[in-house]
């Protein structure tokens, strides 16, 4: 553009000199000529010259305008690009902040797909409501506690995929440990229970001191458990009213509930059945922990069998037959039932693997594949 302008500028200067020379040599101006035809030709030449000059000026102005418009366009594009850049940076910064704040979210972004999740089917259906309407029963024994499975499921249900981030909630009925214990344990796993409780995504029932009166017999137990269920149901329905439609109900020790019910196991089973209705009514997930080894013997096995019958997923933790070791803490057996196949035939699936519990995660591996 500059080059062309300079060329034109030079042309214009040349023309000025030519015109001035012509002016000097012009016979008409010099008064030499007196021929009218020459005069007319000169006038015509002049007006032609004037016209071309005007055309040139208008052309120049137009080019100038076009130039300005194109510059404006370029500027607009540059501004737009800058805006996009700023937005992207801002987004990145915000994500970094949230990552730093909630380590659990980071876990979700690069979701570690471990054997337990696979076995429980948490990755099926694209990770959306994988256990909705299901009953998960965790059974452990004195030697190997199954609490870590419970912790894992709590963490997973409170921080599911980002689509369901605000629609998931947890109702926790704790008989075994106080809130402070779970808060600390889950904080190490990357899930802040205190914050979730403030956000109304966790309803925690501290049932440690819950004890049905002994003297009046079965009536009091029935009434006590009925009022407990009423509380749970109210909590669930109020959560549903808040558009939280992915609710998990967790019971941390069914055997302690039996103790609280003074051994009226039938009432505890009734309570479990009532909780089971929540799964069909609201699409809740019901997770319960129980101890397997206390039901060996003729008197108690009915309770365990009934609860196992109710369960869709059964997770069993056992010590290794060879005893406990520092790098293998025990083995997990997961059986899933009632998986409808395409042909309409349900088929059970069984998974078995070893695990090693750590503070912030649990390692799962097939027997003999520990690296």
């Amino acid at each position: 553009m500059d080059f062309e302008l300079q060329k034109r500028c030079k042309e214009a200067e040349e023309r000025i000199t030519i015109i001035s020379e012509e002016f000097e040599q012009d016979p008409f101006i010099m008064g030499v000529s007196n021929d009218a035809s020459i005069l007319i030709r000169a006038i015509r030449n002049l007006s032609k010259e004037k016209m071309s000059l005007a055309m040139e000026v208008s052309e120049f102005l137009q080019s100038k305008i076009a130039e300005r418009a194109s510059a404006e366009e370029a500027l607009r594009l540059a501004m737009m690009e800058m805006q996009l850049q700023i937005q992207r940076l801002e987004r990145e910064r915000r994500r970094n902040c949230t990552l730093a704040k909630i380590p659990g979210e980071r876990m979700d972004l690069r979701r570690p797909c471990n054997l337990l999740d696979q076995a429980l089917g948490l990755e099926e259906h694209g990770g959306l409501k994988p256990l909705a309407g299901a009953v998960v029963l965790i059974e452990d024994c004195v030697e190997t506690s199954g609490a870590f499975v419970l912790h894992h499921l709590i963490k997973r249900s409170l921080s599911p995929s980002s689509l369901l981030l605000n629609s998931s909630a947890l109702v926790f009925i704790a008989f075994s440990q106080p809130f402070s214990h779970y808060d600390r344990v889950l904080r190490k796993l990357g899930c802040n229970l205190s914050a979730q409780r403030e956000n109304r995504r966790l309803v925690f029932f501290d049932m440690l001191m819950f004890q049905c009166p002994d003297e009046t017999g079965g009536k009091a137990v029935e009434a006590g458990l009925a009022s407990l269920f009423q509380k749970v149901q109210d909590a669930v329905s109020s959560l549903v009213a808040e558009e939280k439609n992915c609710i998990t109900v967790v019971m941390d020790d069914v055997s302690l509930m039996e103790v609280a019910a003074n051994g009226y196991s039938d009432d505890v089973l009734n309570f479990m059945h009532y909780c089971h209705t929540l799964t069909s009514d609201f699409g809740c997930t019901l997770i319960a922990l129980n101890h397997e080894d206390i039901y060996y013997g003729p008197e108690g096995s009915m309770t365990l069998l009934q609860m196992e019958y109710m369960a869709d997923v059964l997770v069993r933790t056992e010590p290794l037959a060879t005893g406990s070791a520092a790098d293998v803490h025990g083995q997990l057996t997961i059986s899933r039932r009632k998986i409808p196949e395409r042909q309409g035939i349900s088929r059970g699936r069984m998974h078995n693997f070893h695990f090693r519990v750590k503070e912030n995660n649990v390692e799962y591996f097939y027997p003999g594949t520990l690296s």
């Binding site: 030697e143 001191m209 103790v259 008197e299 519990v357 503070e359």
Partner: protein
């Protein structure tokens, strides 16, 4: 404890030692817990520091021998030495009389060291150059023991010397006879009133209490056949402990309960121990284990306290021999297999039988 050290989590809180005023006999542990000594320094070491506050320790008794009393005596004495209030319940007619049998603390460890030193002189020939460091460290221990004996965490107890009266009368010791109680609700109310004096506040520990309950389900008690009643008592006790700065040790004879209820008791425990006597004339065992003559019993650890964490503590050994050193001090040692003449094949078979004999107790857990 070792497991905690090797796998430190980035989320574990670093508790500065200045944040909690150090009161005698309390030590801060991992995961925001605080330990008190069990009264047996070896047991403290094995458990990774002692019994953590707010936990329930259950000891399974041997039906034939009173070895659980050794644990209880040391536990109670340790608390009294540290001026910690004590609640003691026992099925005996006169539980106060038991306080007279409590052992007395040894002022410093110098009395114990002569027993070790000749052995060290012989055994340390290879690493002789380390001996000066060893002596140096022992000297500092002795100095500390002499200067601030009161601030010592865990004492050694001389089982032959009774505890001075000043410790017993100086502070609150409550005794309950379980035989007099028609049911456990009275005991529960007493425990609740006792524990209400020691609520847990964030950060600071002002005072610590201990509860010792001996043979809770003894058949002579009138509530013996109400198994659910006893379980609900333990459940309530456990729940109450969670919010207080107290430790409870409960012993029970598992053989009088049905296996199912015994398991329920075991599930309630935060720390689960069992004691077992050794027959005098068990020649097979005598051949298998070194130092068999000195042993008075075996102690097994089935569960270690795991408050505020999900990681189980895996001990290197779960069965230890209880020995009385110089007939005075209770010490725990790993079981050492005696050298056996013959081929490795016979060695294998003896080790197999050894593991069977250590776990053949009815109702105990096989690890």
């Amino acid at each position: 404890m070792d497991a905690m050290k090797t796998r430190p989590s980035s989320f574990s809180r670093n508790v500065p030692s200045t944040s909690t005023p150090q009161i005698p006999g309390v030590k801060t542990g991992p995961n925001g817990t605080a330990f008190v000594s069990s009264g047996i320094p070896d047991l403290d070491k094995i458990l990774g520091g002692g019994f953590s506050l707010g936990s329930l320790v259950i000891v399974m008794e041997d039906p034939e021998a009173p070895h659980h009393m050794l644990l209880l005596r040391n536990f109670m004495s340790q608390g009294l030495v540290h001026n910690q209030p004590l609640l003691y319940a026992s099925p005996a007619k006169d539980p106060k009389g038991f306080l007279g049998t409590l052992p007395s603390p040894v002022s410093s460890r110098t009395e114990k060291s002569p027993g070790y030193e000749p052995v060290e002189d012989k055994g340390l020939r290879i690493a002789w150059q380390y001996k000066k460091y060893f002596h140096g460290s022992q000297q500092t221990i002795n100095n500390q023991g002499a200067i601030e004996n009161k601030h010592e965490y865990g004492h050694d107890f001389d089982l032959r010397k009774p505890l001075q009266r000043q410790f017993i009368t100086a502070q609150k010791v409550e005794c309950i006879s379980l035989q007099d109680c028609p049911d456990l609700s009275a005991v529960r109310d007493l425990c609740a009133a006792f524990l209400a004096q020691f609520p847990r506040k964030d950060g600071s520990i002002s005072s610590v209490a201990r509860i010792a309950i001996q043979s809770l389900c003894a058949p002579e008690c009138s509530y013996f056949n109400r198994e659910w009643h006893m379980l609900s008592f333990i459940k309530i006790l456990r729940s109450m402990l969670r919010s207080t700065n107290a430790v409870a040790v409960v012993t029970f004879p598992p053989s009088v309960l049905s296996p199912s209820f015994s398991k329920r008791w075991q599930h309630m425990a935060d720390a689960l121990l069992s004691v077992r006597a050794i027959q005098d004339e068990d020649k097979d065992l005598a051949k298998l284990l070194t130092g068999y003559q000195d042993m008075v019993g075996l102690l097994s650890i089935h569960k270690v306290i795991r408050t505020n964490t999900q990681v189980p503590v895996i001990l290197e050994a779960t069965t230890f021999s209880m020995k009385l050193q110089k007939r005075r001090y209770l010490a725990l040692e790993c079981l050492n297999q005696a050298p056996v003449d013959g081929s490795s094949g016979s060695l294998y078979s003896t080790s197999g039988s050894c593991s069977i004999t250590t776990s053949s107790k009815p109702g105990s857990l096989d690890f």
